[in-house]
Amino acid sequence: MHPDDFDLDALLDGALHDEARLVLERHLATCAACAARLRDRQRLFALIESAPEAAPVQSLRAGVVAALQPKPATWPRWAWVVSALQATVSVALVAGSLMWIGPEVIDRQLGALTVFGLQTGWAGLQALLEAFLTSGQGLTRWLTSGSTVAPSGWVLALALGAAAIGLFGNGIWFALNWGKVRKP
């Protein structure tokens, strides 16, 4: 029985079992027509495999190496959102506390400072520091006494402290990473 192209391909692909291969090879040794067809298949395979490699228009080397270069740190998108929220909350905390406490109380607590106008110079700074100290002592007394009523002064101190931590933290982070960070 004469093999078809499917069988001849399997022979050339080395996909026949030993017994089947031997039977086919014996046939090919005695059948000139089938042997000629095998040679045709071999020529086809050789032609297919002669397709050469393809050169790129320009070398890929530069593009690949450039793509593999380490990139500057990118602040992820969520970090920008958190930072903005942090700054907003800090400012809102201060503003909310100030409004809650009321300008008269602030003026009384801080002495030389007023809500709508800051006294400049050492006297103003002294007053501010004194207010913080006073508020801190008030906070300590409040914490140790277990009282649930918050003195207005230490509420302001807490608000200013939180704002300072938030804005200060942002500032320090940007200072340390300036030049390394870019928006996504």
Partner: protein
């Protein structure tokens, strides 16, 4: 200065030497391009794919057995990448198959005429590129990577009978399209 062999370059690249990796890219870019052109069927996409192949190969460099040659390994990376690209091009695959079926098995022009338009190699590449993606993939793995039917089936996630069938059809189509070269 003696040129470094693949093993040395791979070890240097693994240690972070991008210049060494660039040299590997330069050595094997034509081979990888050949795979991409044959499997993807279009040259324009092949260049982008080839660059991506080298980037992925760099990521997988730790898995490369440095006792073996780099060329066959990076070509397998290319085949796998291009097959994934083909799988993603579902709509394009359907259009291409309709086009190829419409083209049928019409032989290409007489070799003498083709010599006017381009070289034999380009004709062979065009004939392979004209095959449907499944047939292109089996031709690539059998004729350019010398994989057995079983390994091709495993690589493509297809049955053995499908692989044999596609291989046979692809060869029949190529025999028709390259008839002029086979008869000359």
């Amino acid at each position: 200065m003696a040129s470094r062999d693949d093993r040395q370059l791979a070890e240097l690249a693994l240690a972070g030497d991008l210049d060494a990796y660039g040299e590997l890219v330069e050595r094997y870019q034509n081979a990888v391009m050949g795979v991409c052109v044959r499997v993807l069927g279009d040259r324009a996409g092949a260049e982008d794919a080839a660059q991506e192949v080298f980037l992925r190969a760099h990521q997988k460099l730790a898995t490369f057995d440095r006792a073996r040659p780099f060329g066959p390994w990076v070509k397998r990376v290319a085949v796998n990448f291009c097959l994934n690209v083909l799988a993603a091009r579902t709509a394009e695959v359907e259009l291409r198959e309709e086009h190829d079926q419409a083209e049928g098995n019409a032989p290409l022009a007489d070799p003498a005429q083709q010599a006017l338009a381009g070289e034999r190699a380009q004709v062979i590449q065009a004939a392979i590129a004209a095959l449907p993606p499944n047939q292109r993939a089996v031709i690539e793995l059998r004729h350019y990577h010398d994989l057995s039917y079983d390994l091709i089936a495993a690589e493509l996630g297809r049955s053995l009978s499908d692989v044999k069938s596609d291989l046979f059809r692809a060869r029949r189509a190529l025999a028709q399209r390259l008839r002029g070269y086979l008869e000359s």
